[in-house]
């Protein structure tokens, strides 16, 4: 339901922006890193911009990201075999941000943007995963493997800020490189580097 609401908001606001006289549509792929849990992964973002002034635009964007991390252990301590731990992350995010542009729009320009984010995240963190030693005959186990995890899942709020360098490649086309940081309260924050292509009208 939350994903549906986010999609509808995105479509409504995006449609409003699309109908503006001057705007742009950007698609970018990104490498993401989550420093707190040292997860890494990839994602993509679709964003629309409306020109308000020559140096100011309003951006709305939606993104999907996936990340993971494996902590290699594979060692035996006190006859207990410690197995690898895995972290998994998936998120849908929606952001709105004013964008300040500097530089020559005809050749290359620099954008700075910052704004609020709403995100739906699902994170699974393995807390432990181990194989117990053989038990005495009076103990019966379904399995010798013990698995403990923590799940952080739900809708969270935060902020995003970043910058992009746009290079014009055609009459209506630009490519851009960007970095951004997304801080999420009570969930997983990330930094990312992205490369994208933009259609302007």
């Amino acid at each position: 339901m939350k994903k549906l609401i986010i999609s509808m908001i995105l479509l409504a606001v995006g449609g409003a922006l699309w109908s503006q006289e001057n705007g742009s549509l950007n698609f970018s792929g990104s490498y993401i890193y989550m420093p707190q849990y040292r997860m890494s992964g990839a994602g993509y973002t679709i964003s629309l911009q409306q020109s308000l002034k020559p140096w100011l635009r309003l951006e709305i964007g939606g993104s999907y990201t996936l990340g993971s991390r494996t902590i290699k252990r594979n060692k035996t301590v006190n006859n207990v075999r410690l197995l690898d731990l895995d972290y998994h992350h998936a998120a849908y995010s929606l952001h709105v941000a004013p964008v300040v542009t500097t530089g020559n729009a005809g050749v290359a320009s620099l954008e700075l943007f910052a704004g609020p984010v709403i995100t739906w995240q699902s994170n699974v963190f393995d807390l432990n995963h181990y194989e117990m030693p053989e038990s005495p005959g009076y103990i019966g186990r379904m399995t010798d493997i013990v698995y403990v995890n923590r799940v952080v899942e739900g809708t969270f709020f935060g902020g995003i800020a970043g910058c992009r360098v746009n290079v014009r490649t055609g009459e209506n086309w630009q490519v851009n490189l960007g970095v951004s940081a997304m801080g999420i309260i009570k969930a997983v924050s990330s930094v990312s580097a992205s490369i994208g292509v933009r259609y302007c009208w």
Binding site: Q36, L56, V77, F125, S135, Y138, S190
Partner: protein, 290 residues
């Protein structure tokens, strides 16, 4: 001005995104019983094999002893060993939670099975008043070991040579209190357990610290030792508070070893008694089949 605000926002977001690294590991939880569990017997559950997976840490433990998943029968404690009265006649689950200093918990449930093979019968004896015997059977590859113990205190007809309680119910519960010389020559097929025999029974009943309780447990599969007291210098002492059971081992010509159990202690211990003291008697035998 706007650019400055955006830069500030960028810095705040970067700071939030790169906040302190968090490696989250919960402890390794392991537990076992120190001795094979027996229904109604006290047993020590030992989680000391559990360990934290971080360098500096401490652990706390709590137990779901009846395995109902509805609540924890103990509070959090730093002691990894808990003594319980084993609640399952055949099998059941016992749960453990281990918590580290960060509050992360590992939970482990394990099934415990009691596998007692025993029978109770009344053997033919050369005593005027017979006694019941419990036979514990232990199977090993190609080998059956039958461990036979009288499960009542030996009761003799009235005589000046030993002490009999006046009430019939007391006689039945406590048997006769007799000197070592009488106890050592009672029956040809069953003998007075040696100190080593008793020690083996103590080990079977959870070790010296718990056997005093377990030997008294009123359950069909137990020896159900009672607390008749002792007669010394012609006086009955410690009735209902202690039981003294002769062993077949002499200390010297005047004294012999006896097993002592008490009402106020879970411990079973050996004491030296004057052979003229009047104490309780259990008999036993061992059969090996190949």
């Amino acid at each position: 001005m706007k650019a400055k605000n955006i830069l500030l926002f960028l810095l705040a977001a970067a700071l939030m995104a790169s906040c302190e690294r968090e490696d989250m590991t919960s402890p390794v939880a392991l537990f076992s019983a120190q001795t094979p569990p027996i229904y109604k017997f006290k047993v020590n559950l030992d989680a000391s094999g559990s360990f934290p997976t971080e360098d500096v840490d401490w652990l706390e433990y709590r137990w779901d002893i009846n395995g109902d998943h509805l609540g924890w029968e103990t509070d959090w404690s730093g002691n990894p060993i808990v003594t319980i009265e084993f609640p399952f006649a055949i099998s059941g689950y016992i749960g453990l939670q281990v918590r580290n200093s960060d509050g992360r918990i590992t939970e482990l449930y394990q099934g415990f099975i009691t596998d007692l093979n025993y029978e109770i019968f009344r053997p033919h004896t050369n005593l005027e008043i017979g006694f019941s015997v419990i036979t514990y059977r232990f199977y090993h590859p190609g080998h059956l070991w039958a461990w036979m113990w009288s499960c009542e205190n030996i009761q003799l007809p009235d005589s000046d040579g030993w002490y009999n309680y006046t009430a019939a119910a007391d006689r039945f519960a406590y048997g006769s209190l007799m000197p070592w010389s009488v106890a050592d020559t009672l029956e040809k097929n069953y003998h007075l357990p040696s100190k080593a025999d008793w020690q083996e029974m103590i080990n079977y009943c959870g070790g010296a610290t718990l056997a005093g309780f377990n030997l008294q447990v009123e359950a069909e599969h137990g020896l159900q030792l009672t607390l008749p007291g002792i007669v010394t210098e012609g006086l009955l002492r410690e009735q209902n508070s202690a039981g003294y059971y002769w062993t077949g081992d002499e200390v010297d010509e005047e004294s012999a070893w006896a097993l002592k159990i008490s009402a106020d202690s879970d411990e079973a211990k050996f004491v030296i008694l004057d052979k003229s003291s009047l104490a309780s008697v259990r008999l036993m035998n061992i059969l090996n089949y190949r």
